[in-house]
């Protein structure tokens, strides 16, 4: 019998559309009948949307770039 545990352990393959048809059917049937699992899947998807936003974050400031440029100039001899 498909349980909440199976939804949790298959969530990654479910999101990536990698489940075989039988498992997919069982997962969707269980989730349709189980509000806890429904909430789990919804919040999991929302969490991925939030972490996806971190991709857009610029990391290197012009100051960091400049310090690197100065360091490389001082340490690197021409080839």
């Amino acid at each position: 019998m498909f349980m909440c545990k199976d939804v949790v352990e298959n969530i990654m393959s479910y999101i990536d559309c990698e489940l075989d048809l039988q498992t997919l059917k069982e997962l969707e049937k269980h989730t349709g009948d189980c509000p806890e699992c429904m909430a789990f899947v919804s919040t999991y998807k929302r969490m991925l949307e939030i972490t996806g936003k971190l991709k857009d974050k610029p990391f290197v400031t012009p100051e960091i770039r400049n310090r690197l440029r100065i360091l490389l100039k001082s340490k690197v001899k021409p080839v």
Binding site: E9, C37, F40, M47, I50, I64, L71, V79
Partner: protein, 220 residues
């Protein structure tokens, strides 16, 4: 008038040069730098990979000045060892590997050790395998985007990612933030693909829980 025209011309030439160099492959840039010492090619490599290298170093070290030390070390190493890149894997994978090694070496030299506890048994369900009474009361999925994507939520998730044990944090960063494939992550971190999948799975469960706690507390 004449000076204005010359300035425009210089800008057009510079733009064309930038566009041209941006379309050159990594392998060609490496060849130009290692064979002729062409600094423009090296600068382009720095431009292409700075954010990714610094971001990954910051994820491992969790400290901006440590990350900058690693970032500088990686590009210094590159000036010396770019010629040893054999093209057996993607250049980006090779560069990430250089970053991992530089980060660990730096942390060791500073005697800084991360937490390496296992999350292998981390799960939201009870011993009977059910989620009964554990998820729904904290369901935040239908909150409006303006609340979900607020600045504080992003700070919370950053903080939660940094609470992950190091081996989960690196996998999560490479897969879900830098968007690499399982195969690439396995290659960079020198672990198996099932290990990558397993660590990513536990990391995501951990982060979903942290966000649920945050949004649940926030409602009060």
């Amino acid at each position: 008038m004449e000076i204005g025209f010359i300035k425009k011309l210089v800008n057009v030439i510079a733009t064309n040069d930038n566009e041209q160099i941006a379309s050159i492959s990594d392998d060609e840039l490496i060849r130009r730098y290692t064979e002729t010492g062409d600094e423009t090619s090296f600068d382009e490599i720095v431009n292409r990979y700075s954010d990714r290298i610094y971001g990954f170093a910051l994820r491992i070290t969790r400290n901006s000045s440590d990350a900058e030390e690693v970032f500088q070390e990686v590009f210094l190493t590159l000036t010396k060892k770019l010629g040893t890149f054999r093209g057996e894997s993607k250049f980006s994978s090779w560069l990430y590997r250089v970053t991992v090694n530089a980060s660990y070496m730096y942390l060791r030299s500073q005697k800084k050790h991360g937490n390496n506890i296992s999350l292998e048994n981390y799960s939201p369900y009870d011993e009977k395998g059910t989620l009964m009474g554990r998820i729904m009361y904290k369901d935040w999925s239908s909150r409006p985007d303006i609340i979900i994507f607020n600045k504080e939520a992003l700070i919370i998730i950053e903080k939660a990612i940094n609470e992950l044990p190091e081996s989960y944090r690196t996998v999560f960063h490479l897969r879900d933030i830098d968007g690499l494939s399982n195969e690439e992550v396995a290659d960079i971190l020198e672990v198996s693909i099932p290990a990558v999948k397993s660590r990513l799975h536990r990391a995501r469960l951990f982060l979903r829980d942290k966000l649920s706690d945050y949004f649940h507390e926030w409602r009060r």
